[in-house]
Amino acid sequence: MAVATERSLSMVNAVGEAMRQAMEADPTVIVMGEDVVGGAGRGGSKENAMGGSFGATKSLYPLFGGTRVRDTPISEAGFVGAGVGAAAAGLRPVVDAMWADFTGLAFDQIYNQAGKMSYMFGGQVRLPLTIRVAMGSGLSAAAQHSGTLYAIYTHLPGIKVVVPSTPYDAKGLLLEAIFDDSPVLFFEHLKLYVAKGPVPQDPYRIPLGVAEVRRAGSDVTIVAIAAMVGRALEAAELLAGEGISVEVIDPRTLSPLDEETILGSVERTGGLVVVDESPPHCSVASEIAAVVGEKAFDSLNGPVRRVTAPHTPVPFSPSLEEAYAPSVQAIVDAVRTIC
């Protein structure tokens, strides 16, 4: 749980603060991506730096200048690949790839290069590369700007995957990701960007692979990812009214996954619902269901329920998009089938 503090920040600002503190701490940390500098680069006032699509990093160009804060052309394979090469050659690049969907253009660089290098080269390389992306449905941004894709990166050996759900975690996990020597995909859910939460000013780190229990409970466990954590907590609140005590776990990182915390919880509660905004097949929901089904089989009183998006791209029309991500009601319903 968040350290007691007076200060409240949005996730977008927590991310910006982590970036700034990382760059202050280590001159090898650089940032690059489309529109990170924006208009400010060519003669405009430094304060007009865009800081990427959501402005997260706009304080960086004025502070650190054009050598360490770089606009890229629209060339995802090229600049993500350059990030991989720069990491292999000793920098700690943070690449802003804008939206998770756009990593499709750099997939070879992530999968075949970044993810395999350490292994193929027998451990002789450190690859401290962080790739930041926005993800998720909810803005009617349609099929090519709303995907989650974290399941795919969780499948890949050599890659780590981070999915913060609070501003506090976003800061601590991003600082950890930047100073981790592995390639990390850092997913920021756009629906979480603006809501504020307590964030200490000083730099701090949250280790990768450690889940957080967001609400303690005894009858059933819900594991929820990113924006789904809030919905799970709402569902838990509703269910509490019916006398069902729900434990809500936020894994915070999907690779590595903190199996222990999840298994420990299910051993106590005897039930599990996994809530995931991705399409169902080969999803993180499936992974967690499989792990628990295998390792906590004897504890389960009923089937593990997966509450996911449908096996569809994200629709544009609000009437359909509303029906895309798991709703509070769908979570409640799933819990009821096993409680």
Partner: protein, 324 residues
């Protein structure tokens, strides 16, 4: 350039339709009724109009996130376009796509695309389809100056060159990719200069003059239809609005904007039509009224159309199979 009065009037109608449609979309967007993002084509009308005037219904175009102009120039119905932008069941894509994914296969409009550069390879493939079938259809890929730095352009130009595909690669160079100036992101002043590295023609047209665009495209389309292969055609243009509606536009230079918007291709064309006596002020007013009414109708149509039924969310993931 020698063009008929009909051609001039037809270009003008297309451009004015785009202008008025876009102005209305921008206005309605501000009311909050249109979901998602919209990217306006205002100021660039001469590109779509000048290029598509050379195309037939069975020719193909692939488009961008800034695709309304391409749709209109390729002959899409305003009603169904607007309904799509509003996310309604009567939209061209039944509300599943929205502004960034408008498509109308019945007009060879193979889709707006929210992946920058996403349409380039698709048009190459459409050109390949024409070649394999042995028809004289052509395909046009529209893309921006920002998209010109995507590797897929390089791959596609090379592929189209060695296969002599009937594809025209149209770079709409409006000087910016979001906030990033082309002068920064692109290592050469003219994207068209890259054509030489593929052994294909690279031509430049001034987007402030629709007739220049028309002529450049005519040559490229003729080459393509004759089986002589692809062309890279760069049109220098300027977007009058923000990157998307709501863009604070801090990256723009007011001087530059003033200068460039002063040279509006639509305004020049109207002046020429009047000067040459191809239409009177009254004719133009009537046309404007007619188009405004059509746009009004489109908005009404969109508003009256239902939102898709949420229970159909899983439809269309896979094409509905036609029996073989």
């Amino acid at each position: 350039m020698d063009v008929s009065a009909d051609t001039l009037r037809s270009l003008h109608r297309t451009m004015l339709t785009i202008r008025l449609f876009e102005q209305r979309v921008a206005r309605e967007f501000r009311t909050g009724e249109i979901p998602g993002f919209v990217h306006m084509y205002i100021g660039e009308e001469a590109v779509a109009a000048g290029i598509c005037a050379n195309l037939r219904d069975d020719d193909y175009v692939t488009s961008t996130h800034r695709g309304h102009g391409h749709c209109i120039a390729k002959g899409c119905e305003l009603d169904a376009m607007m309904a799509e932008i509003y996310g309604r069941e009567d939209g061209l894509c039944k509300g599943r796509g929205g502004s960034m994914h408008i498509a109308d296969f019945s007009r060879g409009m193979l889709g707006a695309n929210a992946i920058v550069g996403g349409g380039i390879a698709l048009a190459t493939g459409a050109g390949l389809a024409a070649t394999v079938r042995g028809t004289d259809q052509v395909a046009v890929a529209f893309f921006g100056d920002g998209a010109a730095n995507q590797g897929v352009l390089h791959e596609s130009l090379n592929l189209a060159a060695i296969w002599r595909l009937p594809v025209i690669y149209v770079c709409e160079n409006n000087g910016f990719a979001e906030s990033t100036p082309a002068a920064y992101a692109t290592s050469v002043a003219d994207v068209a200069s890259r054509a030489a590295g593929y052994g294909i023609p690279g031509t430049i047209a001034d987007g402030r003059d629709v007739l220049e665009v028309l002529a450049a495209a005519r040559d490229a389309v003729a080459r393509a239809r004759a089986g002589e292969g692809p062309t890279l055609l760069e049109v220098k243009t300027y977007r009058f609005m923000g990157h998307f509606e709501g863009d604070p536009e801090k990256y723009r230079d007011d001087e530059e904007r003033k200068e460039l918007t002063a040279n509006d291709a639509l305004g020049s064309l109207e002046a020429r039509i009047l000067a040459d006596g191809h239409a009177s002020e009254a004719d133009l007013d009537a046309l404007r009224g007619e188009i405004e009414a059509a746009v009004d109708h489109a908005v009404e149509f969109a508003r009256a159309s239902a939102f898709p039924d949420p229970s159909t969310i899983e439809r269309y993931v896979y094409p509905e199979q036609v029996a073989q």
